[in-house]
């Protein structure tokens, strides 16, 4: 399948990330505690004392074994560090995707059905402004209003039980979802308008079925197809959003892990998180393709 070269390519780029470090990485890592012996050890643990192609193969080999190296700050295997932090991020992404769909689909469809009306115009202005809005800023404002003044939601953190997760992650997911929604609403609106003008919607109307049936079976079913594609494409946006939002809301996910690791110069973790998230995007794109093919029989599924 076409996915394999992409996966390999991801490993290549991630591999070269580490080589971007200017100067001596050992110096960066050890900082004040730099000793010659320590440096040699660091370089060895990063595999930097071998020829490049060997390094890459070793990297690949480790990867296939599930070995992502050792975290410098946590003194654990990178894999376990990432593994601990992955669930909150996945929860957040899923939650945000669901909220985004719940918000976008009615808004996009109603905007199209009542084109030019108050709802539509309001929605268009809102999406225009929303598109230019930094997600972390929106997050802060939502915290200000809903957590601090109205005391409806906890300010940060992740919680311990499933219900607590739902509670703690609501505002952060909402923040991501709102940003995501701006694009989905636009797309859904224009594809719904396009579908409303088609002949097959007229064919459905003249059969004498109810307006709701026309909407559900013909308009929505077709308009949604194009949204699936946009959804998939913008998923990178979603993943990126988690990095910032986890930071604002203090959620112990891989996003905040990434940012923390940058300041502590924990290169194996940075590399590991990049790899994991890239794979996640590829996986999500695959799922999107499958969903698309199942919704639209004209697509030739591979």
């Amino acid at each position: 399948m076409q996915v394999i070269p992409v996966l390999i390519g991801i490993t290549v780029i991630t591999f070269f990330l580490l080589r971007l470090i200017p100067g001596d990485p050992a110096l960066q890592i050890l900082g004040q505690h730099y000793t010659k012996a320590g440096a040699i050890q660091v370089r060895h643990s990063l595999g930097l004392d071998r020829p490049l192609w060997q390094q890459y193969l070793l990297f690949l080999q480790h990867l296939l074994q599930g070995n992502l190296g050792e975290s410098i700050t946590f003194h654990q295997s990178t894999r376990s560090v990432i593994g601990e932090r992955l669930p909150p991020t996945l929860f957040l992404v899923g939650y945000a995707a669901i909220i985004a769909l719940v918000v976008s689909i009615p808004t996009g469809v109603i905007s199209a059905l009542r084109r030019g009306g108050i709802f539509d115009q309001t929605a268009r202005v809102t999406t225009l402004v929303g598109f230019a809005m930094p997600s972390f800023w929106l997050g802060i404002i939502l915290i200000l209003i809903f957590s601090i003044h109205l005391q409806l939601f906890p300010v940060n953190g992740y919680g311990n039980t499933f219900t607590q997760h739902l509670d703690h992650l609501f505002l952060p997911s909402l923040t991501i979802a709102l940003g995501f929604s701006t694009i989905i609403i636009r797309t859904l609106r224009s594809s719904t308008l396009a579908v409303l003008a088609t002949d097959y919607v007229d064919t459905a109307r003249i059969k004498g079925i109810s307006r709701f049936a026309v909407l559900r079976r013909h308009v929505l079913r077709n308009a949604v197809v194009s949204v699936v594609v946009v959804f998939g494409i913008n998923l990178a946006f979603l993943i990126s959003g988690t990095v910032l939002i986890e930071n604002v809301f203090g959620i112990p996910g891989v996003g905040s892990l990434l940012v923390d690791s940058v300041s502590t110069r924990d290169y194996p973790v940075v590399q590991g998180v990049t790899l994991v998230l890239a794979f996640l995007v590829v996986a999500i794109n695959l799922v999107t393709d499958v969903v698309h093919a199942s919704l639209d029989p004209r697509v030739v599924a591979e």
Binding site: W137, I140, V273
Partner: protein
């Protein structure tokens, strides 16, 4: 869209297109004009900062910390160090606008050039380049930028480098797509038949037709880059304190959110205003382009 439209809708479209030019043109221009005005005002304001405010963005005033907006002398208030917020936003605007134009400008030129070349040359060069482009697309963009900044070391310059290394792909893809389309068109075939040099064909014949699409995307990209720069500033990976970059300001103000909301809120408003300006220009250009069809 036209392929599946019924005659009624097609009729409507045709009537509207034929008859609506005059009034439509005014409305189209309105979007463009408003967008350009907003951006123009912002640019002028940031450049004319010394004329608009007596304060320096870094001048500490221990006597007036956390003054709310509309305090005499401080229209937008002060932060915890007594620094004037209005001044900081104006001077910080220079940084964010620099990001918008500097990051976008370079990636636009580089990406367009690569895409033009790739689409025109075809063959294995095209395949290789497009493979690389697809590959970069597979990465969550922001994560990649952070990773690159992580490796190079957090700083404004490295932030630029990270964006340059990753953002060119969108331009390359767009340009390449349009170049491939244009390649088969008559005017290009004619130019080639006349024996024009490749570079001339690319620059004089293909490029002008692609430019409009690229510019529209560039507006969207500019918004993205500002948000990106602000995000990195917020995380402390780009601009760092005491820089008045807007994202960094928002981060700074987080600790005082309870008492002094304006520290974090106002810089965000500035970002939104600039973003809306760019978006409107992009929308205006898109409308203009569509009308010329």
């Amino acid at each position: 869209m036209n392929a599946t439209m019924n005659p009624g809708a097609l009729l409507l479209e045709r009537f509207e297109a034929r008859a609506g030019r005059r009034r439509g043109r005014v409305r189209r221009n309105a979007t463009l004009i408003v967008g350009c005005s907003i951006l123009g005002i912002v640019i002028v304001a940031t450049l004319a900062a010394p004329l608009l405010t007596p304060y320096n963005p870094n001048t500490i005033d221990p006597l007036h910390p956390l003054a709310p907006p509309l305090t005499p002398g401080h229209p937008l208030g002060t932060d915890q160090f007594g620094r004037d917020i209005f001044a900081r936003i104006l001077y910080g605007g220079r940084i964010d606008l620099l990001i918008a134009f500097g990051a976008t400008g370079v990636t636009l030129v580089a990406g367009t050039a690569i895409g033009l070349f790739s689409g025109y040359a075809g063959g294995w060069a095209d395949s290789v380049i497009m493979r690389i482009v697809d590959l970069f697309f597979a990465f969550p963009f922001f994560v990649l930028v952070i990773a690159i900044v992580a490796m190079l070391g957090p700083s404004i310059f490295n932030m630029f480098v990270a964006i340059w290394l990753t953002s060119w792909i969108s331009y390359a893809r767009i340009t390449r797509g349009h170049t491939v389309l244009a390649k088969g068109r008559e005017y290009v075939l004619a130019a080639k038949a006349l024996g024009y040099r490749h570079s001339r064909v690319m620059l004089r014949h293909i490029l002008p037709n692609v430019v409009s699409f690229v510019l529209i995307f560039a507006m969207v990209d500019a918004v993205g880059n500002i948000l990106l720069g602000a995000a990195l500033g917020f995380l402390g990976l780009g601009a760092k304190p005491p820089s008045p970059e807007w994202g960094a300001m928002i981060a700074d103000g987080q600790n005082y959110i309870l008492s002094s909301w304006w520290l974090s809120t106002l810089p965000g408003v500035a970002i939104v205003i600039v973003g809306v300006g760019f978006s409107l220009i992009g929308d205006g250009l898109a409308d203009l382009l569509r009308a010329d069809d």
